[in-house]
């Protein structure tokens, strides 16, 4: 039972904005031969119940991701800079609205 030798096309990442004013959030991906088909497939796959008001599709091959092995190097230093958080500072007793 030989099946046709075929392609399932390129992978596209799908980002959905659930309401105007909110950011586009990654929803998943679809296969498509071009951007138009990717948008149509994304609509059919990820927004059947009013989940979205806007869709972005991006070829998965164009996404650059950080390496999990670099996790410490990239993200740990920020833990040492507590002065970037408002709770770091001591406010004079009785100060209001700050």
């Amino acid at each position: 039972m030989k099946t046709t030798n075929d392609t399932q096309f390129d992978l596209w990442e799908v980002f959905i904005q659930s309401k105007p004013g909110l950011p586009h959030i990654h929803a998943g991906n679809v296969h498509a031969s071009d951007a138009k088909m990717a948008l149509q497939n994304a609509r059919d796959t990820y927004t059947r119940r009013g989940e979205g008001t806007s869709i972005w599709v991006v070829p998965s091959a164009n996404i650059r991701a950080s390496n999990p092995d670099d996790h410490e190097m990239l993200f740990d230093p920020s833990n040492e800079k507590m002065f970037r958080h408002p709770t770091f500072y001591t406010m004079p007793e009785g100060a209001k609205n700050i």
Partner: protein, 315 residues
């Protein structure tokens, strides 16, 4: 990459309820187990469209037809989410479809049973989707990130599937004598196969050890099956359906329903390809996959043509 240290680190992450993401280190066994389980799950969603698709043109009303179409479209979507999750582990969709067609990859045994009449559509939604939901709710907490996210999305969509099935059954149990008999007959045929969907008893299932250690599987087959039985008995009684098992009885001590022996010979017979519809399901999938080849070829040709045009403009 493979050494004691990374394996230990991996297990530590699992033990502390961390998620594993596609680019993280994972033992080969973990990857293989996931590819097998997720692709089988994806194939089940897609093959599961067939017994119900058979009733679209014969749905008893426009309302029923719209609902059935929407449900089947959801199942196609579930297949896509799961194929995507499996692809993040390094297997292509072409390979998965090939494995399905060659018989190397399995799909859920339940779809090798036929949907004989409209009551079966009720029984499938209520019992088959109902059993699937119990399993899928548990899998929302699976350790592999993409699989877990697919499950969360799927569970959100599933509850309408079960409710529409139960509504059909309730309506028929409110109907004529013939309709009631049809509903009970469908119940009789689907109850046991639905219980088998959870797989062999814990004492007889060989793959569970690693899957539990790696938190791919969060609850055992028997635990999940019991949850399904405990939920379903009351729903059946409420609409006057009888569970086709004389040993079903509430057990005060365990606070669960006891049930009768499952016929595992039947289970193995169907898994080995001797169910009523195994051949039909696979022939159908292969036929339409091959007949759709020209669509994929046309889209590929269109893409190449457009790329050439763009090159001309730039050049």
């Amino acid at each position: 990459m493979h050494n004691e240290h990374t394996d230990q680190h991996f297990q530590l992450r699992i033990d502390t309820e961390g998620h594993i993401e596609p680019r993280d280190y994972m033992p080969e066994g973990y990857r293989k187990h996931l590819i097998r389980q997720i692709s089988q799950h994806a194939h089940s969603e897609v093959i599961g469209m067939q017994p119900e698709g058979n009733w679209i043109t014969r749905a008893p009303s426009l309302r029923a037809k719209q609902i059935l179409l929407a449900k089947i479209q959801d199942e196609g979507g579930h297949g896509l989410y799961l194929y995507s999750a499996a692809e993040t582990l390094g297997i292509s969709r072409e390979e998965m479809i090939e494995q399905l067609h060659s018989g190397k990859a399995k799909y859920s045994n339940i779809f090798n049973y036929p949907a004989l009449n409209w009551a079966d559509i009720g029984a499938i939604g209520w019992l088959v989707d109902g059993a699937a939901i119990v399993n899928q709710v548990s899998l929302q907490r699976t350790s592999y990130g993409p699989y877990s996210r697919a499950m969360v999305r799927i569970c959100k969509e599933e509850s309408f599937h079960q409710r529409q099935g139960y509504e059909i059954m309730a309506k028929m149990m409110n109907g004529t004598k013939e309709q009631k008999e049809m509903a009970q007959d469908a119940m009789n045929r689907w109850w046991w196969p639905a219980l088998m969907m959870f797989g062999p008893h814990d004492k007889d299932s060989p793959h569970t050890g690693d899957a539990v250690k790696w938190k791919i599987k969060r609850e055992s087959n028997d635990t999940l099956r019991q949850k399904f039985i405990d939920k379903t008995v009351q729903q059946a009684e409420l609409i006057g359906l009888k569970i086709p098992d004389n040993d079903i009885k509430w057990n005060e001590k365990t606070e669960h329903y006891d049930h009768g022996e499952i016929d595992w010979n039947e289970f193995h017979r169907v898994i080995k390809g001797n169910g009523p519809c195994n051949k039909q399901r696979m022939d159908h999938h292969i036929k339409y996959h091959n007949e759709g080849a020209w669509v994929r070829e046309a889209a590929a040709a269109y893409k190449t043509k457009k790329l050439k045009k763009e090159e001309l403009v730039i050049g």
